[in-house]
């Protein structure tokens, strides 16, 4: 757990960068070093988007992910693009509407209804990134629930606290249930 390299991918507008920033914030709150960056096309929405968060117990030199220990993909396009590049120890989280591409080496692929939960259980598709943050924190144990809630609240628009806390809760539940089922 000394160094985690997280890559989040999706479509511009899904809030993938914000999710990546919140994970960095949570890592910082828990006293670790972090470096967060992103790449995206010139278009604001609809283009493919990749965000990265490095978390380490040591100061961080090179700030880009080279061998992700974790990959999340929210669109088929981004999964097809980044999935084949991961090694077998990379934990992959995908939306359950997606299909893992052939030849993806990752041994563990967690498929969870992130978008569906945001749309139907939380009630706003826009909260999918926070549902995802809940899943990721539960799967990776980046920080405790309280610190993660704090990190989320620091970065969301005013007036959306309740909605996003519910999203975080639902995301946590999804991953918890998966961990339960796949006793590890």
């Amino acid at each position: 757990m000394n160094r985690q390299e997280l890559r989040l991918a999706g479509s511009g507008g899904q809030g993938v960068i914000l999710a990546s920033v919140i994970l960095a914030e949570a890592a910082l709150i828990s006293g670790r070093f972090t470096a967060q960056s992103q790449s995206y096309g010139p278009e604001a929405r609809g283009g493919s988007c990749k965000a990265e968060t490095l978390i380490s117990d040591q100061p961080i030199g090179f700030t880009k992910v080279q061998n992700p220990t974790f990959l999340m993909a929210l669109t088929q396009k981004s999964l097809d693009k980044y999935g084949p590049g991961v090694d077998e120890n990379c934990l992959v989280l995908i939306d359950s509407a997606l299909t893992a591409p052939e030849g993806m080496k990752a041994k563990t692929v967690v498929s969870l209804p992130i978008l569906d939960t945001a749309r139907n259980t939380v009630g706003r598709l826009q909260t999918a990134n926070i549902v995802a943050v809940g899943c990721i924190n539960e799967l990776l144990g980046i920080t405790d629930h309280e610190s993660m809630s704090k990190a989320v609240l620091m970065h969301i628009p005013k007036g959306t606290d309740k909605l996003n806390m519910k999203a975080l809760e639902e995301g946590t539940k999804l991953a918890k249930a998966w961990l339960e089922e796949n006793k590890r």
């Binding site: 920033v21 960095a24 914030e25 910082l28 070093f33 972090t34 470096a35 967060q36 960056s37 992103q38 790449s39 995206y40 096309g41 010139p42 961080i60 030199g61 090179f62 700030t63 880009k64 080279q66």
Partner: protein
């Protein structure tokens, strides 16, 4: 000791500028510098300052120059395409001796290039982009914290020497978020330009009293009337065609920087004591170099780092001395070889100079630098 906060490089630039006393930002947003304009628009009114979005990059630097003449610490930020446009007025500020900070968050060019891709392709434009012989100070930060600290330094140098200072950032640092500790206000050193206290009709605006580094500035609007021009001028501020006066003016302009090289130079070294190979790097590239050095050390290779933070004026004395002690210097930069030319000029045949460059919008990896180091 202040709080540790998660901050983006571009944000740190704004917070550093505010801490240094910036009270005007004029700009025209462009990726990857846009967050500097956005945050300035939010933060300046809170600090009693002004934000203006101008019609283009030329007007932006003109506005910042005007505000500085009125006595307000000013900044403008842009990327390559806008930096090209600012060159003419940059020269004006150099000659008229107007303090100013110009930020270039470099992206891949030429022209509009690849807007979201990292580059360090404007390093020679920083040196020679505006026409005519002139001195310049250019600074390159390689972390979020350094961006904060060096933005303050950029303002201080510009005030002290009455000259524009360039903060040459790059997309890697501008768009990087990491934790940084905000310093306490009382720990920050702030330099203000020498300023005249009252109007005097007999005062010559570019006259220097004995022991002064630069002429005292009279903020426009205080009642002191004087002429400012981009033409070569004498102490009165009015244009002159006198060869003697031109030489005097130009020498003073060049010497106020070169005579103070020891105070302006700023570089960081690591592991030079036993190094056979030294990585020369600056800005965002330093992060890959740092990891490459650690990887090389693990393999038992004696590798160090020489990293200028003030890139112009170039730390040639120090690099020349170093080149006599080591076997190789590997220059790593995100361009086709710009500071490489300067390193080669200084190092001559003292040691071997290798190069790791990137000019396709990609990022130089530690492995690429390590491979060059291992190429004995």
């Amino acid at each position: 000791m202040g709080d540790v906060v998660l901050m983006q490089g571009n944000e740190a630039c704004v917070e550093g500028a505010l801490a240094a006393g910036m009270r005007l930002y004029a700009g025209y947003p462009i990726t990857p510098s846009t967050e500097i304009a956005e945050l300035s628009a939010l933060r300046l009114p809170q600090e009693g300052g002004k934000f203006i979005q101008m019609e283009d990059e030329i007007a932006s630097i003109a506005c910042a120059i005007g505000a500085s003449v009125a006595g307000v610490k000013s900044m403008t930020a842009t990327s390559g395409p806008g930096f090209s446009l600012k060159q003419e007025n940059l020269g004006y500020a150099v000659l008229a001796e107007i303090p100013l900070v110009v930020v270039d968050v470099q992206r891949m060019g030429p022209s509009t290039g690849m807007p979201t891709s990292p580059s360090q392709g404007d390093m020679m434009m920083a040196r020679w982009g505006t026409h005519g012989d002139h001195p310049i100070i250019a600074i390159c930060p390689s972390s979020v914290k350094e961006t904060y600290d060096l933005t303050i330094r950029a303002f201080n140098l510009s005030e002290k020497y009455r000259t524009p200072v360039l903060l040459m950032m790059d997309e890697l640092v501008g768009h990087l978020r990491e934790g940084m500790e905000l310093p306490d206000k009382e720990d920050i050193t702030i330099v203000d330009r020498p300023t005249v206290k009252y109007p005097d009709p007999k005062r010559l605006p570019y006259h220097m009293k004995k022991g002064q580094l630069v002429p005292e500035m009279a903020p426009f609007g205080m009642g002191q009337r004087y002429n400012i021009t981009g033409l070569i001028h004498d102490e009165s501020g009015f244009p002159t065609n006198s060869i003697e006066e031109a030489e005097k003016m130009m020498n003073r302009l060049m010497h106020k920087i070169s005579d103070n090289y020891e105070k302006i130079k700023d570089y960081v070294t690591e592991n030079l004591e036993d190094a056979d190979v030294v990585i020369f790097c600056y800005g965002g590239t330093a992060r890959a170099a740092q990891t490459a050095m650690e990887m090389a050390r693990e393999k038992g290779l004696k590798v160090g780092i020489f990293r200028p933070r003030t890139v112009w004026p170039f730390p040639e004395k120090e690099l020349e001395e170093l080149s006599r002690k080591v076997k190789r210097i590997v220059v790593a930069e995100h361009n086709y070889g710009q500071m490489l030319l300067e390193v080669q000029r200084v190092v001559k045949n003292n040691c071997i100079v290798g190069f790791v460059g990137k000019w396709n919008g990609g990022v130089i990896t530690p492995q690429e630098i390590l491979a060059k180091i291992e190429e004995a």
